[in-house]
Every structure is written in structure tokens, then in C-alpha cells.
């Protein structure tokens, strides 16, 4: 496979984790500008676990996911009273504070004669897992896609359970949810935590793939992109955010002649699209329609 294509695809896969984490927060009715922070925390933790402590990749990624989840849970607990714009801005501040923490995190060690570890604004270089295990770009792509598919399977099975519907109810109409005996706070907290885990896991993969990470990578723009992908794709199904990622990175970035004007086209396109499909491309209604059509055909 073409190296360039493989790395674009890998990038898409990694960003998909971020978009899915934004999606999980949107499902419970909130907007987060801060998912990039969990992505970044995950990246740092996975990098430290594998490169500094020599942990197996599985434990490294797990630690990244747990790290992202705990930060998200902390944010959820701190902002338990907030919603709407208030919540959105607080996620932004929280993410910038976490990034500030990373900017000042210095914990370098000598491993096999190299000085590695988080080094303030310089970031974390020489995350050599991918070389040590002789991974090609395509191998890594395979790994990332496998992880994404597993995550999608989990999300799809969640989609069929009352949990997801309960979360949607909390997001769509908290009053109704309460009258059905659902505790909105609990749903919100669990979904925010889950979103942190997903972002942290994706961040871990990102660190391993890029071999170098630095705080500047995890700025607000990254998070807002993830959010935009989720909204464009639609809240009907976990496929939505993937579609958003594909439209931007896959379609537009890979058409090289457009590179300079990509954002002019993409920006206008998205705004225009939202006029006609305010609930995103894959809206809940579309999903339900397709499902019932499918069922009718196969009964």
C-alpha cells in the first residue's frame, strides 16, 4: 500500500477516536470543546508507559484510556451543575489547564543511553515502540483499524441496549428522562467518562504512531475539529462521526490540488450542509427509517 495513503488512513482512524468521544458527549446533550485534552493525556500516559516503563502496548493503551477517563470524570464532577454554553466553556478551560500542565511536565529519564520522557514544551520524543517492534505504517494502520472496529462493535451493541436510549433521552429531554426514573446526572457522568476513555485510547495510539508528541498538538483546534465531525456526521449512529472524518480528511485533504483552498470549500460546505440537515447527515430519524425499511424487507 502507498505510504502516503496508509498514513492518511491512519490519521483518519486516530481522529475518528476523537470524533467518537465528542459524539458520546453530544449524545447526553452536551457540547465539549475539551476532548483534545483527554486525547493528549492518553497520549502522554501511553507514551510514558511503553517508552519509560517498558510496558506492553496493551497495558500502555489501557493506562491511556483510564487516564483519559479519570480526567473526564474529574471534569464531569467539577461541572456537575453546568450545562449548555456554561459546560462547553468550562471544558475549554479545563482542557487548556491540562495542556498547561503538560507544558510544564518535565520527567526525563535515561533509557538505553537516550534521554526520553516529557520535556515541557519540547514534548515527548523518541517513542520508539513502533520501531522496536518493527511495525510498518500499514501494520500500524491494521492495528488502529482493528481497535476502531472493536470500539464500534461495543458502541453498536450499546446502541441496541436501553443504556444508549436512556442517554439520548437525557440529552434530548431531561425532564422526560426524570419522569421515566432515569438519573440524568449519572448518565451524564458515565458518558463523559466513557468519552474520556475513548479519547485517551485514541491518544495513546496517536503517540505510538507519531513517535513524537508535544502539548501544542493538543490545542483547541484539534478538539473543535473532532466536535465538528461528530455534528456534521449526525447523532443517529456511531457511523456519523466516521463519515464526518472521512468527508474532511479523507476526501478533501487527499485531493492535493485543493489543499490550499480546502478549508474555504470545507467550511462553506459544512455550513451549507447544516442549513439543510441541521441534525447532521446521519440523523436519528434517518437511522430509524433505514432500520424499519430493512426490517420490512427481511421479515
Amino acid at each position: 500500500m502507498d505510504m502516503y495513503l496508509a498514513s492518511v488512513l491512519t490519521n483518519m482512524t486516530l481522529i475518528a477516536f476523537l470524533a467518537l468521544s465528542a459524539y458520546l458527549v453530544l449524545v447526553v446533550g452536551e457540547v465539549s470543546f475539551g476532548q483534545q485534552a483527554f486525547f493528549g493525556i492518553g497520549a502522554y500516559i501511553t507514551a510514558s508507559a511503553t517508552a519509560l516503563a517498558g510496558a506492553h502496548i496493551f497495558w500502555g493503551l489501557l493506562a491511556g484510556a483510564i487516564g483519559g477517563a479519570s480526567c473526564a470524570l474529574l471534569l464531569g464532577l467539577l461541572t456537575i451543575r453546568l450545562s449548555g454554553i456554561y459546560f462547553a466553556i468550562s471544558t475549554l478551560c479545563f482542557a487548556e489547564l491540562l495542556r498547561f500542565f503538560l507544558l510544564h511536565l518535565r520527567f526525563t529519564q535515561s533509557v538505553d543511553g537516550r534521554i526520553i520522557g516529557p520535556d515541557g514544551p519540547e514534548g515527548f520524543s523518541n517513542i520508539r515502540w513502533i520501531f522496536e517492534n518493527h511495525y510498518q505504517v500499514t501494520d500500524f494502520l491494521l492495528l488502529a483499524v482493528t481497535c476502531l472496529i472493536i470500539l464500534l462493535i461495543v458502541l453498536f451493541s450499546l446502541e441496541r441496549s436501553p443504556i444508549m436510549l436512556g442517554a439520548r433521552m437525557v440529552g434530548n429531554d431531561p425532564i422526560l428522562a426524570q419522569s421515566q426514573g432515569l438519573n440524568p446526572t449519572r448518565y451524564r457522568l458515565s458518558f463523559i467518562t466513557l468519552s474520556g476513555a475513548v479519547a485517551g485510547f485514541g491518544g495513546g495510539l496517536f503517540a505510538l504512531f507519531n513517535t513524537h508528541i508535544e502539548p501544542a498538538m493538543f490545542g483547541v483546534m484539534l478538539g473543535i475539529h473532532g466536535l465538528a465531525y461528530a455534528v456534521i456526521g449526525g447523532l443517529g449512529s456511531a457511523v456519523g462521526p466516521l463519515l464526518g472524518v472521512f468527508l474532511d480528511i479523507g476526501l478533501l485533504e487527499s485531493i492535493r490540488p485543493l489543499a490550499a483552498y480546502r478549508m474555504i470549500i470545507f467550511g462553506g460546505l459544512v455550513a451549507f450542509l447544516l442549513v439543510f440537515r441541521p441534525e447532521g447527515i446521519i440523523s436519528p430519524r434517518l437511522v430509524s427509517r433505514l432500520k424499519s425499511r430493512w426490517r420490512n424487507r427481511h421479515v
Binding site: 450545562s83 456554561y86 456534521i232 467550511g267 447544516l274 441541521p278
Partner: protein, 298 residues
């Protein structure tokens, strides 16, 4: 004495933040919407001004006029494309994301207009002077005065004219205002224009004080405006002015005491604390309360 000098510098910078905050507060207080593309509009106006400067040759005043007109135009464009189609109550998130998309677009247009990373931005020249032991930058003093005058004009417009009354009535209850004959969609457009003009003023003042533009200016000004609004109280105009001044003071003092790198973090920390402890901000408790009541209505 240093303390005093820093405070005065802070207030001078804060007055331009107040204008940024006011732009956000106007839009949020009246329409309950967040325009993420705000900073990008500012960047677009400034880029357009620099791009046209050699063609027009009007110098600093040309920059002044073109910046404001450019920002207002961009703001009107954003309103038509991202906010007017999503005016229903549930359209807030969609409108916000649409404005984000247009942010990307305007950013790209700006960087097509100005391909380099930094461009000089000429200011109106005013001599600096010493006031006792305090150093006063002439241009900053001028900006401070301009900011005060524009806040005063905005106040008169909103509180002494019929247009202002209609705008405030719409903020209070859009449906009722509509039924009483106010052209609510048109008022939305006017509000974005007003916010654009205020933002354009602020952009000119900040950039001419700095002396240059970088592509990061868009993101930067969106942040400053949002933060000024949040500290003062979401949607409260008076709050946004006070929030802007506080932001200026906190930034300069944090910069002086802790060093430049801590400056932004102290403000983010402050905003986060304000949100957690007093979500309505310092002045906007009322709007916060009515918003949360409206959400809870059965």
C-alpha cells in the same frame, strides 16, 4: 509604583477586551447564540485592510475604516449563513458548529490574502508621555478613550432609542416581540452588524498597539471575548465591560508576577473557577437563572 503602572496598563488593554466581550454579550444576551467565527471575522477584516492598503493608500485611517467595514461584512455573512437558518430554540449547537466551519473558511481566506506569518499593522501615531512616574502610551490612551466612547454610544443606542428598546424586548421574550410587530430576524442581523462594528474597532486597536498581525489573532480574540463575557456574566452587557477590564488587569498582573507563560493559564483557571463557583458570572446571574429555569420548566 510598579503595581500602579501594571494596573493602568491592564485597564488600557482591558478596555479593548471589554469591546470583544461586549460583542459576544450582545449576541448571547439577545439571541442565546455563540459565534465561534467572531475572531475569524476580525482576522478577515484586518487582513482585508492590509491587503487593500497599498491599493487605497489611505494609511492608518484606511486601515481603521477597512478593518471595521470588513469585520462587519464578515459578521453579516456569518449571521446569514450560520445563524439565521438555525433560529429555532434547539438550533444553538448546530449554529455554533456552522460558525466553526465558517471560521475555518474565513481563516483560509485571510491566509490567502496575507500569505506570510506576520504583517506589519500601522497604528495612528500619538506621542507617549510620562504622567508623574507613570509611563503612558499615547496610542493606548487613545484606544482607551475610543473604547469608552463606543461603550457609551452602545449604551445610548440600547437604552435611549426605539431600536434599542426593540432589541431589549426581543432579548426578554422573542415570541412576544415578534407578535407585537418587531421584525425579529432583521434585528438578529442588526445585532451581528453591531457586534461586528465593535469587534472591528477592537481589532484595529489591538493590532495597531501590537504593530503586527499573525494568523493566530482570530483564535486569540475569540478566546478573549468569550472569557471577558463569562467572567462578567453571560449575556450581561455591563458584565462584559467589567469582565474585560478584570481580564486585562488579571493578565497584566499575572504576567508581571508569574511571568508571561503563566498569563493565559491564570485567566483560564479564573474562568473555570468562576464557572464552577458562580456559573452566572459576576453580573449575569439573572440571565443564568432564567435560562436554567426555562430548561427545567415542565
Amino acid at each position: 509604583m510598579d503595581m500602579l503602572q501594571t494596573s493602568i496598563d491592564g485597564l488600557m488593554i482591558g478596555s479593548t477586551y471589554a469591546l470583544l466581550g461586549l460583542s459576544f454579550a450582545l449576541v448571547f444576551g439577545i439571541m442565546r447564540r455563540i459565534n465561534l467565527a467572531f475572531g475569524a471575522c476580525l482576522l478577515f477584516g484586518a487582513s482585508l485592510a492590509i491587503y487593500l492598503e497599498p491599493i487605497l493608500g489611505w494609511g492608518a485611517w484606511g486601515l481603521f475604516v477597512v478593518t471595521i467595514v470588513g469585520v462587519a461584512l464578515a459578521s453579516a455573512y456569518v449571521e446569514r449563513l450560520c445563524f439565521a437558518p438555525h433560529s429555532k430554540r434547539h438550533g444553538a449547537v448546530t449554529a455554533m458548529v456552522a460558525s466553526f466551519a465558517v471560521w475555518m473558511q474565513l481563516d483560509e481566506i485571510s491566509s490567502q490574502l496575507l500569505p506570510q506569518r506576520t504583517h506589519a499593522f500601522q497604528g495612528i501615531e500619538v506621542p507617549n508621555f510620562w504622567w508623574g512616574e507613570i509611563f503612558v502610551r499615547g496610542d493606548q490612551l487613545l484606544h482607551f478613550v475610543i473604547a469608552l466612547v463606543s461603550i457609551l454610544v452602545l449604551y445610548l443606542l440600547l437604552y435611549k432609542t426605539r431600536l434599542g428598546l426593540l432589541i431589549r424586548a426581543t432579548a426578554d421574550s422573542p415570541d412576544t416581540a415578534h407578535l407585537l410587530g418587531a421584525r425579529v430576524p432583521w434585528l438578529g442581523f442588526i445585532i451581528f452588524l453591531l457586534a461586528g462594528i465593535l469587534g472591528g474597532l477592537a481589532a484595529f486597536m489591538i493590532l495597531s498597539a501590537d504593530g503586527y498581525v499573525t494568523p493566530l489573532f482570530g483564535l486569540w480574540s475569540t478566546f478573549k471575548g468569550l472569557i471577558a463575557m463569562i467572567i462578567g456574566g453571560v449575556g450581561s452587557l455591563m458584565g462584559a465591560v467589567i469582565g474585560g477590564l478584570i481580564l486585562g488587569l488579571v493578565e497584566t498582573h499575572a504576567g508581571a508576577v508569574l511571568g508571561a507563560e503563566f498569563r493565559d493559564m491564570v485567566t483560564f483557571g479564573l474562568v473555570f473557577l468562576v464557572l464552577i463557583i458562580r456559573p452566572g458570572g459576576l453580573m449575569g446571574v439573572k440571565i443564568y437563572r432564567t435560562d436554567s429555569l426555562a430548561q427545567e420548566r415542565v
